[in-house]
Symmetry: C2
Subunit: 521 residues, 2 copies
């Protein structure tokens, strides 16, 4: 089901219900870009530490926009041994709702945009009809501004845009505006002599409006109701009305109710994420580190500086996360599954020893067909991810005695895979551990090599040809990590390089120490 600004409000209860009744949820995001660094591969070195990887992703990926969010909810129907799913495909866009709301800037990467364009992605739906959102801090600030405004206008009868200073003395009106303001005062005097009614002033500058507000509130503290409206050309103009106290109060209340509603609309899509968070349900994603980072960044708070804080925030937002790419790359699946990209995983899980689960769309929800490959759409990808999770979880049941055909999302069998997010292209650390310290491989068979920029991988193979099999992880044009097959060779390699001119070799431990030193100075 496609959700845009147009049908979001009317669908919200449907969405809440789907989350509430579900056994687990699958999610996926589409972004305006992946990495604004020099190249994805240099940014994801094979020997990054989890901390380094987090820092790189935070620095080079968070300026992109998550603009499509897929949610697929799954509920098990034991009687029929089938799953009922509800798929939502949300278009999300930070439309500035008022002059006070943040004017978000985001980066697009042309290769990512082009990729989505080729998949038939509808950018007009995002930019014209995307659901707005606020993160927690933005929401807090806007609510505070609103309250302060109400508070001030309650207390003193003057609206908040008058600073404390200027209410004390008489208002200073610059000479060039004086006759303009005087004319308006005359008009208002005329209005107040007459019956109830109102006058529209011509559109004018913000500064002039400020002067009008100040003057009228000072001269006519009670009888005149002053408000700013916008015409169809987006010009702002002032309307002054003569109102009795009751009418005045009624209007104020109406205006506040409307402001509260606008505030709620502005929180928009964040409500869905808060509902997911509050549900405490298992949330499944495929290679989901970036999805999780973007979700927190966009709908909760800017990402914290340290990986440990990020883990804290993440586990407080999502109680249980499961990454199907990590699951597929872990025993007992890695022995059975060669390729873990989502589309290939999904295909593999259709064959023995796995069994494709019976999954049906809930009534009123469109169904996807996995046979004819759908466009690369967040809702579809979330759905596929959910399918993969069910197949793999059920496979774990076959190891029980007696074997079980269905393993629920809450089962202890799934526990080993919880809160471990796949780390792309890290050789020796398979996952980021959200619920504890990360694995610390020794890396005592690894060398750090510095060389001229003309060198190619083959030059490194040649340099280390005496040491048998090696594994190269490029850092940049002039340096790389080289993993030797035997730890004992490390010292030999360092020694033989001592007098080399064109290149330089140090151990991984030396490299880490030096980097630590540099960081501290």
């Amino acid at each position: 089901m496609e959700i845009t600004r147009q049908n979001f409000k009317e669908c919200l209860n449907l969405i809440y219900e789907a989350i509430e009744e579900a056994d687990f949820l699958a999610i996926d995001g589409e972004f305006s870009g992946i990495s604004d660094g020099p190249s994805v591969t240099t940014l994801t070195n094979g020997l990054d530490t989890p901390e380094e990887r987090y820092q790189k992703l935070k620095k080079h990926s968070m300026d992109f926009l998550l603009f499509q969010f897929g949610l697929c909810t799954f509920k098990y129907d034991a009687a029929e041994n089938r799953h009922i799913m509800k798929t939502f495909n949300f278009y999300v866009f930070p439309k500035p709702l008022s002059r006070n709301s943040p004017d978000v800037k985001f980066v697009c990467q042309s290769s990512s945009i082009d990729f989505l364009a080729n998949q038939g992605f509808d950018f007009n739906k995002v930019f014209r009809n995307g659901i707005p959102y606020l993160n927690r801090e933005e929401e807090r600030q806007l609510r505070e501004q609103l309250e302060e405004k109400h508070h001030q206008s309650n207390g003193t009868g003057t609206p908040s845009f008058i600073s404390p200073n200027s209410t004390k003395g008489p208002i200073v009106i610059p000479e060039e505006h004086r006759s303009f303001i005087e004319k308006i005062v005359e008009k208002v005097e005329d209005l107040l002599k007459d019956d109830n009614g109102s006058i529209e002033l011509d559109p004018c500058t913000g500064f002039q409006r400020k002067l009008i507000y100040q003057t009228l509130n000072w001269k006519f503290p009670k009888g005149a109701h002053v408000e700013t409206l916008e015409n169809e050309k987006k010009e702002r103009y002032i309307v002054v009305s003569k109102l009795d106290d009751d009418e005045r109060r009624r209007r104020e209340e109406q205006k506040r109710a409307k402001e509260q509603e606008e505030m709620n609309d502005a929180v928009g899509f964040s409500k869905v994420i808060y509902a997911i968070s509050k549900s405490g349900k298992l949330v499944v994603g495929h290679n989901m580190l970036l999805d999780v980072m973007h979700t927190i960044h966009q709908f909760f708070c800017p990402l914290p500086d340290e990986l440990n804080e990020f883990k804290e925030v993440t586990t407080s937002v999502f109680t249980r996360l499961l990454d199907t790419k990590l699951m597929a790359s872990t025993h007992p699946f890695k022995e059975l599954i060669m390729n873990t990209p989502l589309a290939e995983l999904e295909k593999r899980l259709k064959d023995a020893p796995f069994r494709p689960p019976k999954v049906e769309s809930a009534e009123g929800f469109p169904s996807y067909n996995t046979a004819s490959e759908q466009l690369h759409e967040a809702g579809y990808d979330a759905y596929i991810t959910g399918l993969c999770f069910i197949s793999m979880a059920n496979h774990l049941g076959s190891f029980l005695s007696p074997p079980k055909v269905f393993v629920p999302a809450k089962s202890k069998l799934v526990e080993p895979f919880i809160n471990k997010l796949f780390l792309m292209r890290v050789i020796d650390i398979p996952y980021l551990n959200l619920s504890g310290p990360d694995l610390q491989p020794k890396r005592d068979h690894v060398l750090h090599v510095r060389f001229p920029k003309e060198w190619k991988t083959s030059d490194l193979y040649q340099l280390f040809s005496a040491f048998g099999n090696i594994q190269v992880s490029w850092i940049d044009d002039t340096s790389a990590f080289v993993a030797l097959s035997q730890r004992e060779q490390v010292q030999i390699a360092v020694n033989t390089s001592r007098y080399a001119e064109s290149y330089r070799i140090q151990t991984y431990a030396e490299y880490v120490d030096k980097k630590q030193e540099e960081k501290q100075t």
Copy 2:
């Protein structure tokens, strides 16, 4: 006429022709954002120097994308005293055409995107069908890479992706790839024993392809033709064919011709800008500084660091520029025209003493109707800008004796307005002078004031209430320029402020000196 990637090539000659035959050209651009700074108003202080303004726009606006370019060409038909116009509305997008082409990142500002969305802007046309482009430097680099590749494969018979080192010795094949490569060598040996034919290898990694190329070129320097293709899943795979020398040469030539064509396609929309530049025709725009900066930045070269260099580049690209906003704000027009935003200017110029010109669309070109306001589209805005120029230019003819009804774009009467670009919201410098040094107003009646962030404009009016009329230009939350009406009061104000605690006043000259000093240290 709407031009996208789909019809660009077939329309190119039509576009060239329109530019060639025109008396003058009008242009307009739509961008993904205007300013990524804290706020447009803080970024455009009323007392910026032209150099400061250029630096701010360069720093805060060039990361946005110019994604729609409007061109309207005007040709005078003396017999009928009418203008024939041809309007082009180009959608532009930096689609990465190959793995070597730049992967452009650009910023979007949600308020700008939302504004365009409300006007019905079609983002899908930009992102799916935008015409690609290269700037001069990118084009040079890609051409060089192409030539080097051809040169190398001519010289040694080996393609360029083999580095000089690795062609010397035998190829080092890492152990884990050895059996993979050996199997391929066997297959190719079998192929070469047989008749003509070819084999497709399975998709594999870039590194494996490199090894295959190296090995096959070394083992079979003549008989085997090796090339990389892409399947519909965008996976790259190698095809090896047995070819005689003639066939081999023919294929190479075909491949090169195709590469040359792709190169030309990649230059894409830049060709239109080059044609405009080469024509030397008058180019008219409305408030066109940002349009000019973006055009140079995107299609020629990164903007130079200094304003003077920018002027040089600009005048070498565009021989004659005219800004209708500047024209409308200058004698003898400023006395007649109150509001200079494009839509209002256009309306004003329909009334006396101006006369709306007779303008008709050329055959086969859609016509715009100024009565029913069109969507905010670059082609339409360029058209309106052209209309405004014609009306104002013709008005200049009324001052001649005998008066003239038609003043051509080449007329000397237009000369005073050439190469002066409107400077938004600068109080005392109306334009950036492209063909010489800029105006240097004295500003000896201006003060620089520093104060607590709680202060409002009214506090400044109060502070200077003894000095009569003042003009405030905010710099940031805690400082502003204050222009006094009389130069003589400047020293008095500075003196009386000497012992003030909450604020600090200095003359404009002192402020400039201090800033200069800071810059040098």
